[in-house]
Subunit: 317 residues, 2 copies
């Protein structure tokens, strides 16, 4: 007999990671979202998912199960497994909305991992990612698993191909520590994407893939200097910089405090930095937090974390 209630946690994720626009991401240890799933006792001709409750979103996420990232992902998971038992979800948002920390990905990832455990499907990573992607397709207006894949797999993740997902786990050098500062401003992903346009100068694109190739190599050989030189975004960051007042000054503060590099997390407004150890990361976090206050005049939340190597996981069963 399967358990009747399962809760899964999925972490915040930093996507793009400077030179890896749309293809690279990594998860933090925390914060994250939790999704609890239970069998309702009903079953039907098609997968059926309802929402019991959503906590921590100030009432802003859709309660309609047809339109909620987590419930759509949960239904996709049930359908993939051919399971027709009805389930109900409780979603606890630990991530701020529209923060650039992969909030919708975390909800979708937690939902599929929870459903997978509830029904005992033991689905492959590819299936979990695919189902979460169906959920997130609603939230982000597109299907880029650069948050979903690291949220589910853990580790530094490169998505070679979005669908069907071709997911590559890159090594994480010992000591590598992430700082994320989330200023209390909101950016719509769709607006941030529109700023990019649909074409880019070839020279900028060449520079981007040179840096991405170098970053992948740097992660393999734990070359922090090379990682530092590679953490440069010639595509998205220059075009999105106007969305975050004072971005250049905040990045300079990170770099002056010893960060290897920094950039927007996802489409912002959160800003991440990577550091070679925890002590440096703590200094970088303080410097970035102060710079955000000085430059934007708004408050912020700051997180310091190693790169999570496990991703979404069941926390109670």
């Amino acid at each position: 007999m399967t358990d009747r209630v399962v809760t899964a946690f999925a972490p915040a994720t930093v996507s793009n990671v400077a030179c890896g626009f749309d293809v690279l991401g990594f998860p933090m240890e925390a914060p994250g979202d939790c999704v609890t799933v239970r069998f309702t006792g009903a079953s039907g001709a098609t997968a059926l998912v309802t929402i019991d409750d959503i906590v921590g979103d100030d009432g802003r996420l859709p309660r309609d199960a047809e339109r909620n990232t987590a419930s759509v992902a949960a239904r996709a998971m049930l359908e993939a497994a051919g399971d027709r038992r009805a389930v109900a979800l409780t979603i606890r948002k630990g991530l701020p909305l529209s923060s650039g920390l992969g909030g919708s990905a975390a909800s979708a990832a937690a939902a599929v991992v929870a459903v997978d455990a509830l029904i005992g499907a033991r689905a492959s990573i590819e299936t979990l990612v695919h189902c979460a992607l169906i959920g997130e397709g609603l939230g982000a207006g597109g299907a880029h698993p650069d948050n979903i894949a690291p949220a589910i797999c853990g580790g530094f993740v490169l998505v070679r191909h979005p669908n069907p997902p071709d997911i590559i786990r890159l090594p994480v050098p010992a000591g590598l520590t992430a700082v994320v500062v989330h200023p209390d401003i909101e950016i719509e992903t769709a607006r941030a994407r529109a700023l990019l346009g649909t074409s880019v100068p070839l020279a900028d694109a060449v520079r981007q893939w040179a840096n991405l190739g170098a970053l992948v190599h740097g992660l393999h050989v734990s070359d922090f200097d090379l990682i530092s030189r590679s953490l440069e975004d010639s595509i998205a960051e220059p075009r999105r910089a106007p969305l975050v007042p004072g971005l250049a000054a905040i990045k300079r503060a990170a770099s002056d405090a010893g960060a290897l590099g920094s950039s927007l997390s996802g489409s912002g407004p959160s800003i991440f930095a990577l550091c070679r150890d925890r002590a440096i990361a703590d200094r970088v976090a303080a410097a970035m937090t102060a710079a955000v206050q000085r430059e934007t005049g708004v408050s912020s939340q700051t997180y310091v974390s190693s790169i999570s190597t496990r991703g979404a996981h069941v926390v109670t069963a």
Copy 2:
């Protein structure tokens, strides 16, 4: 006392390597160019280089030392070392002109390595590449060291930044073998570059850097299946395909014979394939040679070689 005559060999190089446009390259063991340098006995206020002879170019390369790739590179090397002794060069072209096999890079690389040995400068890789680049800047109308760097360093080489050069040697999986077929047609590098335009669709660019990141990872972990999936060019090959009649059929012949992947070498017309071992490479070479004959109606030269790990080197001193 330094030797009075030095000859250096520099190999053919495959640049771009499908997903690594302008940033990735590798050298073959052969064919290549040889450059012999000797002191003339003169010296002056500035570096002085003359050309004794050029062999194997059917008289097509400039004899004017101010305009010849090898002599300009040689002079840059003398200047970098602060050496004012006059030298004279003999250039033996083993590479066909405008073949996409890095012919001008090979001449420049052989010249700087020969001069470096002649004057006993023991210059760094970065200096050798920089000086060869000055030479090749003439030949290719631009300064992209994705042929120069592998010709000098050996191995699979990623150029993170062109100038000053930031050069990364990637691992070469055991067994990896290259096939190059050079159809007897000529493509001007400048024309091939014009076909690319100056901007590219963002979606194509994302696909390119996803593949490049995956290829770098695949080389590190010797994952031939991933290397195969990653050897896809969404930028240059589609736009340059019209330059090589029957390219799609030639690529299909390579793939049917067991190649991991294939694409244009540099700006073509040469076509390379990568294979997981020598036996497969020999079959792929036969299949591609037959396909080139069938599709283009012209004859071709075919080369099979492991990835050279030593690059340009002195052959007599």
